[in-house]
Amino acid sequence: MSKPFLSIEELTQVYPDGKGGELTVFEKASFGVEKGEFVVILGHSGCGKSTIMNILAGLAEPTSGVVKMDGYEVSGPSLDRGVVFQNYSLLPWLSTLKNVTFGVAARHPEWSKAQVVEHSTKFLAMVGLEGDVIHRKPSQLSGGMRQRVSIARAFANHPQLLLLDEPFGALDALTRGTIQDELLKIWGGTEQTVFMITHDIDEAILLADRILLMTNGPFARVAESVEITIPRPRTRTTIVDHPNYYAIRNHLVHFLGERSKELAGQKGDEVNKPVPVRIDKTVSVSESEPETPRPLRAVNS
């Protein structure tokens, strides 16, 4: 089998626990992401999602293990991996527009100033920021607006891999919906691969090709990889009518509610690969049975 576009191999992260000991966040986590795939990772707070993302971004070095993109080992950050940080990370001394042109100018040093501004303005408009607002400082924006600036900054650079750390966390339901649609549009029109963290199950089902489920830390495991067997294009209103929707949703809710705890803290020397789970009510039970062994069946009935 050929290697996936993004391959995470035996990633282990150990931090000092502040009391002289060690805190193993996760151990030998291994999974792959295909080119053009939209992968969402779900897990409770503190299980190590942001840690994984920082490693993928090249901002942090894992204690051991490697990340390969397109066959090359990731070492250090790159413009090919765009990041939307959990805390927005806007530069507070720059205006909203300048925060975006900052990135665009770095990506396209050959562009004229007018080109950079035009491109940036376009992406700000895409996330609903237009007019005077773009000349304000981040401190004069609401939390949701800041998050949108951060999203515009990452999208405007067309990275091969978009890394999104709870990008919609501070948004109201309405804006969230619009920007989710924008994200799907941008992603659909390009070869971009998206790796996103969220706490929102519905958002995950709407957006993802595949959802990775993490157990609680320490020694968190990427326990399952749930395929979202709902055809695209999806919209918030139509997916709920799909026969697979509630089956998948229940599976995720049960995982986060109970099994993430039960499975937590299991140290194992073997490589931690997520178990693939495919829930599809549109095919007969006998067909899907072999792919989802273990007690998962319960949630499907």
Binding site: G58, L59, P77, L79, F85, L91, W93, S139
Partner: protein
């Protein structure tokens, strides 16, 4: 009173305090002159004579008017206008200060970026920093020889520490998130330093610069009293030797005004580089 804004009320109060203060000062002068019990020192310095007494504010005002209406006259080494004297002082302060900034800010950057450099340089900084700048004066005069350059050196040495320490601190405290933004955009070291770390640390750096200019202005007066020749510090000392206390009081006021203006300039700079997180 109810309709006046906070600022207006404060201004009014300031004015009242000024008038009352000047009035008390003015009225207390004849009483002081009437006092017959002069100490030996006062008699020697001529405090008993009308000229050498603490001048009333009206005399100081008259002096100020006289001096400020022709601030740049030059009638020999011991008789120059207040503008010329202050000019010399500002020139020395700015020269020494600029040299200090040119060294302290890049060095502070280095120290702030590198824990090794910080640890290596820290002992030197800790020993050199508490030394009174004037203590360097004899050494400076001996090594440099020139009194002008020695005064500038003293300004240099006293301005360097707040700038150095604040720059190092400001640079070290730049949020990792912002550095990460630079890194994910593949900015080189130089670009990161200029476009991310410098603006992020600028408020702290400028605070250090503001403290430095304040200290430099404090020190120049004392330094000029020592080296003599020109400058506002020399002028104060010279007028004291001439027993012209009116000029002394006037020049003290001028020192305050110039110091205030220097500070205001850096206050302005501070506002332009500050940002809200």
């Amino acid at each position: 009173m109810g309709q006046l804004s906070l600022n207006q009320r404060a201004a009014l109060l300031s004015l009242v305090m000024l008038v009352v203060g000047l009035l008390v000062w003015e009225l207390s002068i004849p009483a002081q002159k009437a006092a017959e019990e002069l100490t030996e020192y006062e008699r020697l310095t001529g405090a008993g004579s009308a000229k050498a007494g603490v001048p009333p504010p009206s005399d100081v005002l008259a002096k100020a008017w006289e001096q400020l209406s022709n601030p740049f006259y030059d009638a020999g080494p011991n008789d120059k206008g207040i503008g010329i004297q202050i000019g010399y002082s500002i020139y020395r302060v700015l020269t020494g200060y600029a040299l200090a900034a040119a060294l302290a800010i890049p060095l502070g950057f280095l120290i702030g970026m590198s824990p090794v450099a910080y640890k290596a340089l820290n002992p030197f900084i800790q020993v050199l920093r508490p030394i009174s700048p004037l203590a360097w004066m004899p050494l400076a005069l001996f090594i440099i020889g020139d009194s002008e350059a020695s005064a500038i050196f003293v300004i240099f040495i006293c301005s360097i520490w707040p700038m150095l320490i604040n720059t190092a601190f400001g640079v070290a405290a730049v949020r990792q998130d912002w550095v990460n933004v630079a890194r994910t955009h593949e900015l080189g070291h130089l670009k990161t330093a200029f476009f991310v770390i410098l603006p992020a640390a600028a408020p702290t750096i400028v605070t250090g610069m503001r403290i430095s200019i304040g200290i430099a202005w404090l020190v120049i007066v004392a330094a000029e009293m020592l080296v003599g020749g020109t400058g506002i510090g020399y002028y104060v000392w010279n007028e004291w030797n001439n027993l012209d206390l009116t000029s002394v009081v006037f020049s003290i006021l001028m020192i305050g005004v110039v110091g205030m203006m220097l500070d205001a300039a850096f206050g302005y700079l501070q506002r332009t580089v500050s940002y809200v997180e």
